[in-house]
């Protein structure tokens, strides 16, 4: 999520776990184990029944994030197992801290080796990150003047490495909220109704991948599965071609767009990926575009 200060990025992030499918009892017990070992369990209920939401401060060390200590303790990636890890002010995190996250993001678990012993903790989490569009924060805000030079903005964005960005499926701009939206009646949906749609989409995916042992959801699709399940018609093809050449999108963005478009189709209960879904998916790659093309 990219947006100026005060646009509600953190508020949205905190509510993200409430639209994820509910934890199964098995998942709840696994998460409870980790929290219990870390000494973070609420002793009243003795169970972590909701998906955890962890938002470490950006001064966190790599050991704090993935786990560490003489006898390694679970870090934030493990504490957000089956839940959400929210990194606010993403470019402010130290570079090595962000890079150590790549292994757990890939494998769903993290192995920490120390002199005494080597331990593996589970770490299946969804990464959610927020950042300002530029160091001063007002680059995309029509109401404020941005005081940053182009070089500063480029430098700021370059702090997030390509490989990390590659692992983030969706980038979205969060503009400042207008007065009318603030003062008006809330038009929003309840988390529960959004969650019902998400759960329905996941059910579609479970059926789709039932004969493939290593793929459970759209996120796990390799290029072969993408070719098979994300076929697009000629109108979609044309749209995608224009988008990739005009916006300067990279080759790696191509697969992402198809995956995301497939998911949007699942949410809309559409069997086929069409130009509508592709169009929506293309706009979720805003960080792949060049700064000056805006």
């Amino acid at each position: 999520m990219i947006g100026p200060p005060g646009s509600g990025k953190t508020m949205l992030a905190k509510r993200f776990s409430s639209i994820l499918p509910n934890l199964t009892l098995e998942e709840a017990l696994e998460t409870t184990k980790i929290h219990s070992v870390a000494g973070l369990l609420d002793t009243e209920t003795g169970l972590v029944g909701t998906r955890p939401f962890r938002s470490p401060h950006h001064t966190i060390s790599d050991a704090g994030l993935i786990g560490g200590g003489q006898v390694p303790r679970p870090g934030e990636v493990s504490l957000s197992h089956h839940g959400v890890l929210f990194l606010d002010e993403l470019p402010e995190f130290r570079k090595n801290v962000l890079e150590v996250m790549r292994q757990p993001m890939e494998d769903g678990r993290v192995t920490i080796s120390r002199a005494a012993l080597s331990l593996t903790y589970p770490a299946q989490f969804m990464l959610l990150a927020a950042m300002n569009p530029c160091p001063c924060g007002y680059f995309t805000d029509p109401a404020h003047e941005c005081s940053c030079s182009l070089l500063q903005i480029q430098r700021y964005r370059a702090r997030i490495s390509g490989p990390l960005l590659d692992r983030i499926d969706i980038h979205v701009e969060v503009p400042a909220v207008t007065y009318r939206e603030l003062s008006g009646q809330s038009d929003g949906e309840y988390s529960q109704s959004i969650r019902e749609r998400v759960e329905a989409a996941r059910r579609v995916q479970t059926v789709r991948f039932k004969d493939q042992p290593h793929v459970f959801a759209n996120a796990h699709m390799g290029s072969r599965e993408i070719r098979r399940h994300c076929t697009i018609d000629s109108a979609g093809e044309a749209l995608l071609q224009t988008a990739i050449t005009r916006l300067g999108l990279s080759a790696r963005a191509y697969d992402r767009i198809l995956k995301v478009a497939r998911t949007i189709a699942d949410l809309d209960q559409c069997p086929q990926v069409g130009p509508v879904q592709l169009g929506e998916a293309i706009q979720y790659r805003s960080l792949d575009r060049d700064v000056d093309s805006k």
Binding site: M1, G8, M11, L12, R15, F16, S18, I19, L20, P21, L23, L25, E27, L29, T32, K33, S36, V37, T43, T45, G46, L47, G49, V71, P72, P74, H82, M105, A116, L117, Y121, Q124, F125, L128, D169, I170, V172, V174, V177, E181, G184, S186, G188, Y190, S191, I194, R197, R202, Q205, F216, A217, N218, A219, K259, V260, T263, I264, D266, L267, Y284
Partner: protein, 217 residues
């Protein structure tokens, strides 16, 4: 004079069984802990000594050796306080029990004999049920957590004396019972809702799509 009680520890997020053996010897009074004790385990003997005395028992005036087996894994944490105190009381015949078999004892002791909560009770409970253990004594704060394990009777104790009572009366008390489904339903409510966010409809939609892509499980 010898006594053996069962305890447990965690490695990562898995529990494993630890046998706490206490041996009393007619020799110069001393207290030795062996079996790779680290940090808090090394300091256990001071807490055990104080807690035993302040609970109305006496510390045997002998050479005490406590072994934590398996001896080749480093032991960490304060959860061995209670099994060590129990072992010494049993070895010096201040406490008698017929139900030590298949009983796991865990807990950190305060100097006045109160019990403090431990870490990893659920992991330990799961591993102990698998290892064929039947009963578990642990600090009251952890009882609800460990009671979620099926096949294990969990007893919460607030003090060393309560733990001793449980052993001497052969567990006549009723074990902790947890209504799994109830706790799960109750704890699976979120305190926040998307309804509260004004505007930003397209970001909400993007988050919905993100939830649908499912990087987890």
């Amino acid at each position: 004079m010898f006594a053996k009680v069962y305890s447990a520890a965690v490695l990562g997020i898995e529990g494993y069984l630890v046998e706490v053996e206490s041996h009393l010897d007619s020799n110069l009074p001393a207290f030795a802990t062996v079996g790779l004790p680290e940090g808090a385990v090394k300091e256990s003997k001071d807490r055990v000594r104080a807690a035993v005395k302040n609970s109305g028992f006496y510390m045997p005036n002998k050479r005490i050796t406590v072994n934590l087996a398996p001896a080749d894994i480093r032991k960490e944490g304060a959860a061995f306080d209670l099994p060590m105190a129990m072992g010494i009381l049993l070895a010096s015949r201040q406490v008698k029990s017929h139900s030590l078999e298949a009983t796991v004892i865990l807990g950190e002791l305060a100097l006045d004999g109160q019990l403090r909560p431990i870490r990893g009770a659920l992991s330990i409970g799961v591993a102990m049920a698998k290892a064929g253990m039947k009963r578990m004594i642990l600090p009251r704060e952890n009882a609800a957590e460990a009671a979620m394990v099926t096949g294990l009777s969990v007893y919460g104790a607030a003090t060393l004396l309560e733990a001793v009572d449980l052993l001497e009366n052969d567990f006549s008390a009723t074990p902790e019972i947890v209504d799994m489904a109830g706790v799960f339903n109750q704890s699976s409510q979120y305190g926040v809702d998307f309804m509260e966010v004004r505007g930003q409809g397209h970001v909400k939609r993007a988050l919905e799509v993100a939830a649908g892509v499912a990087t987890m499980s």
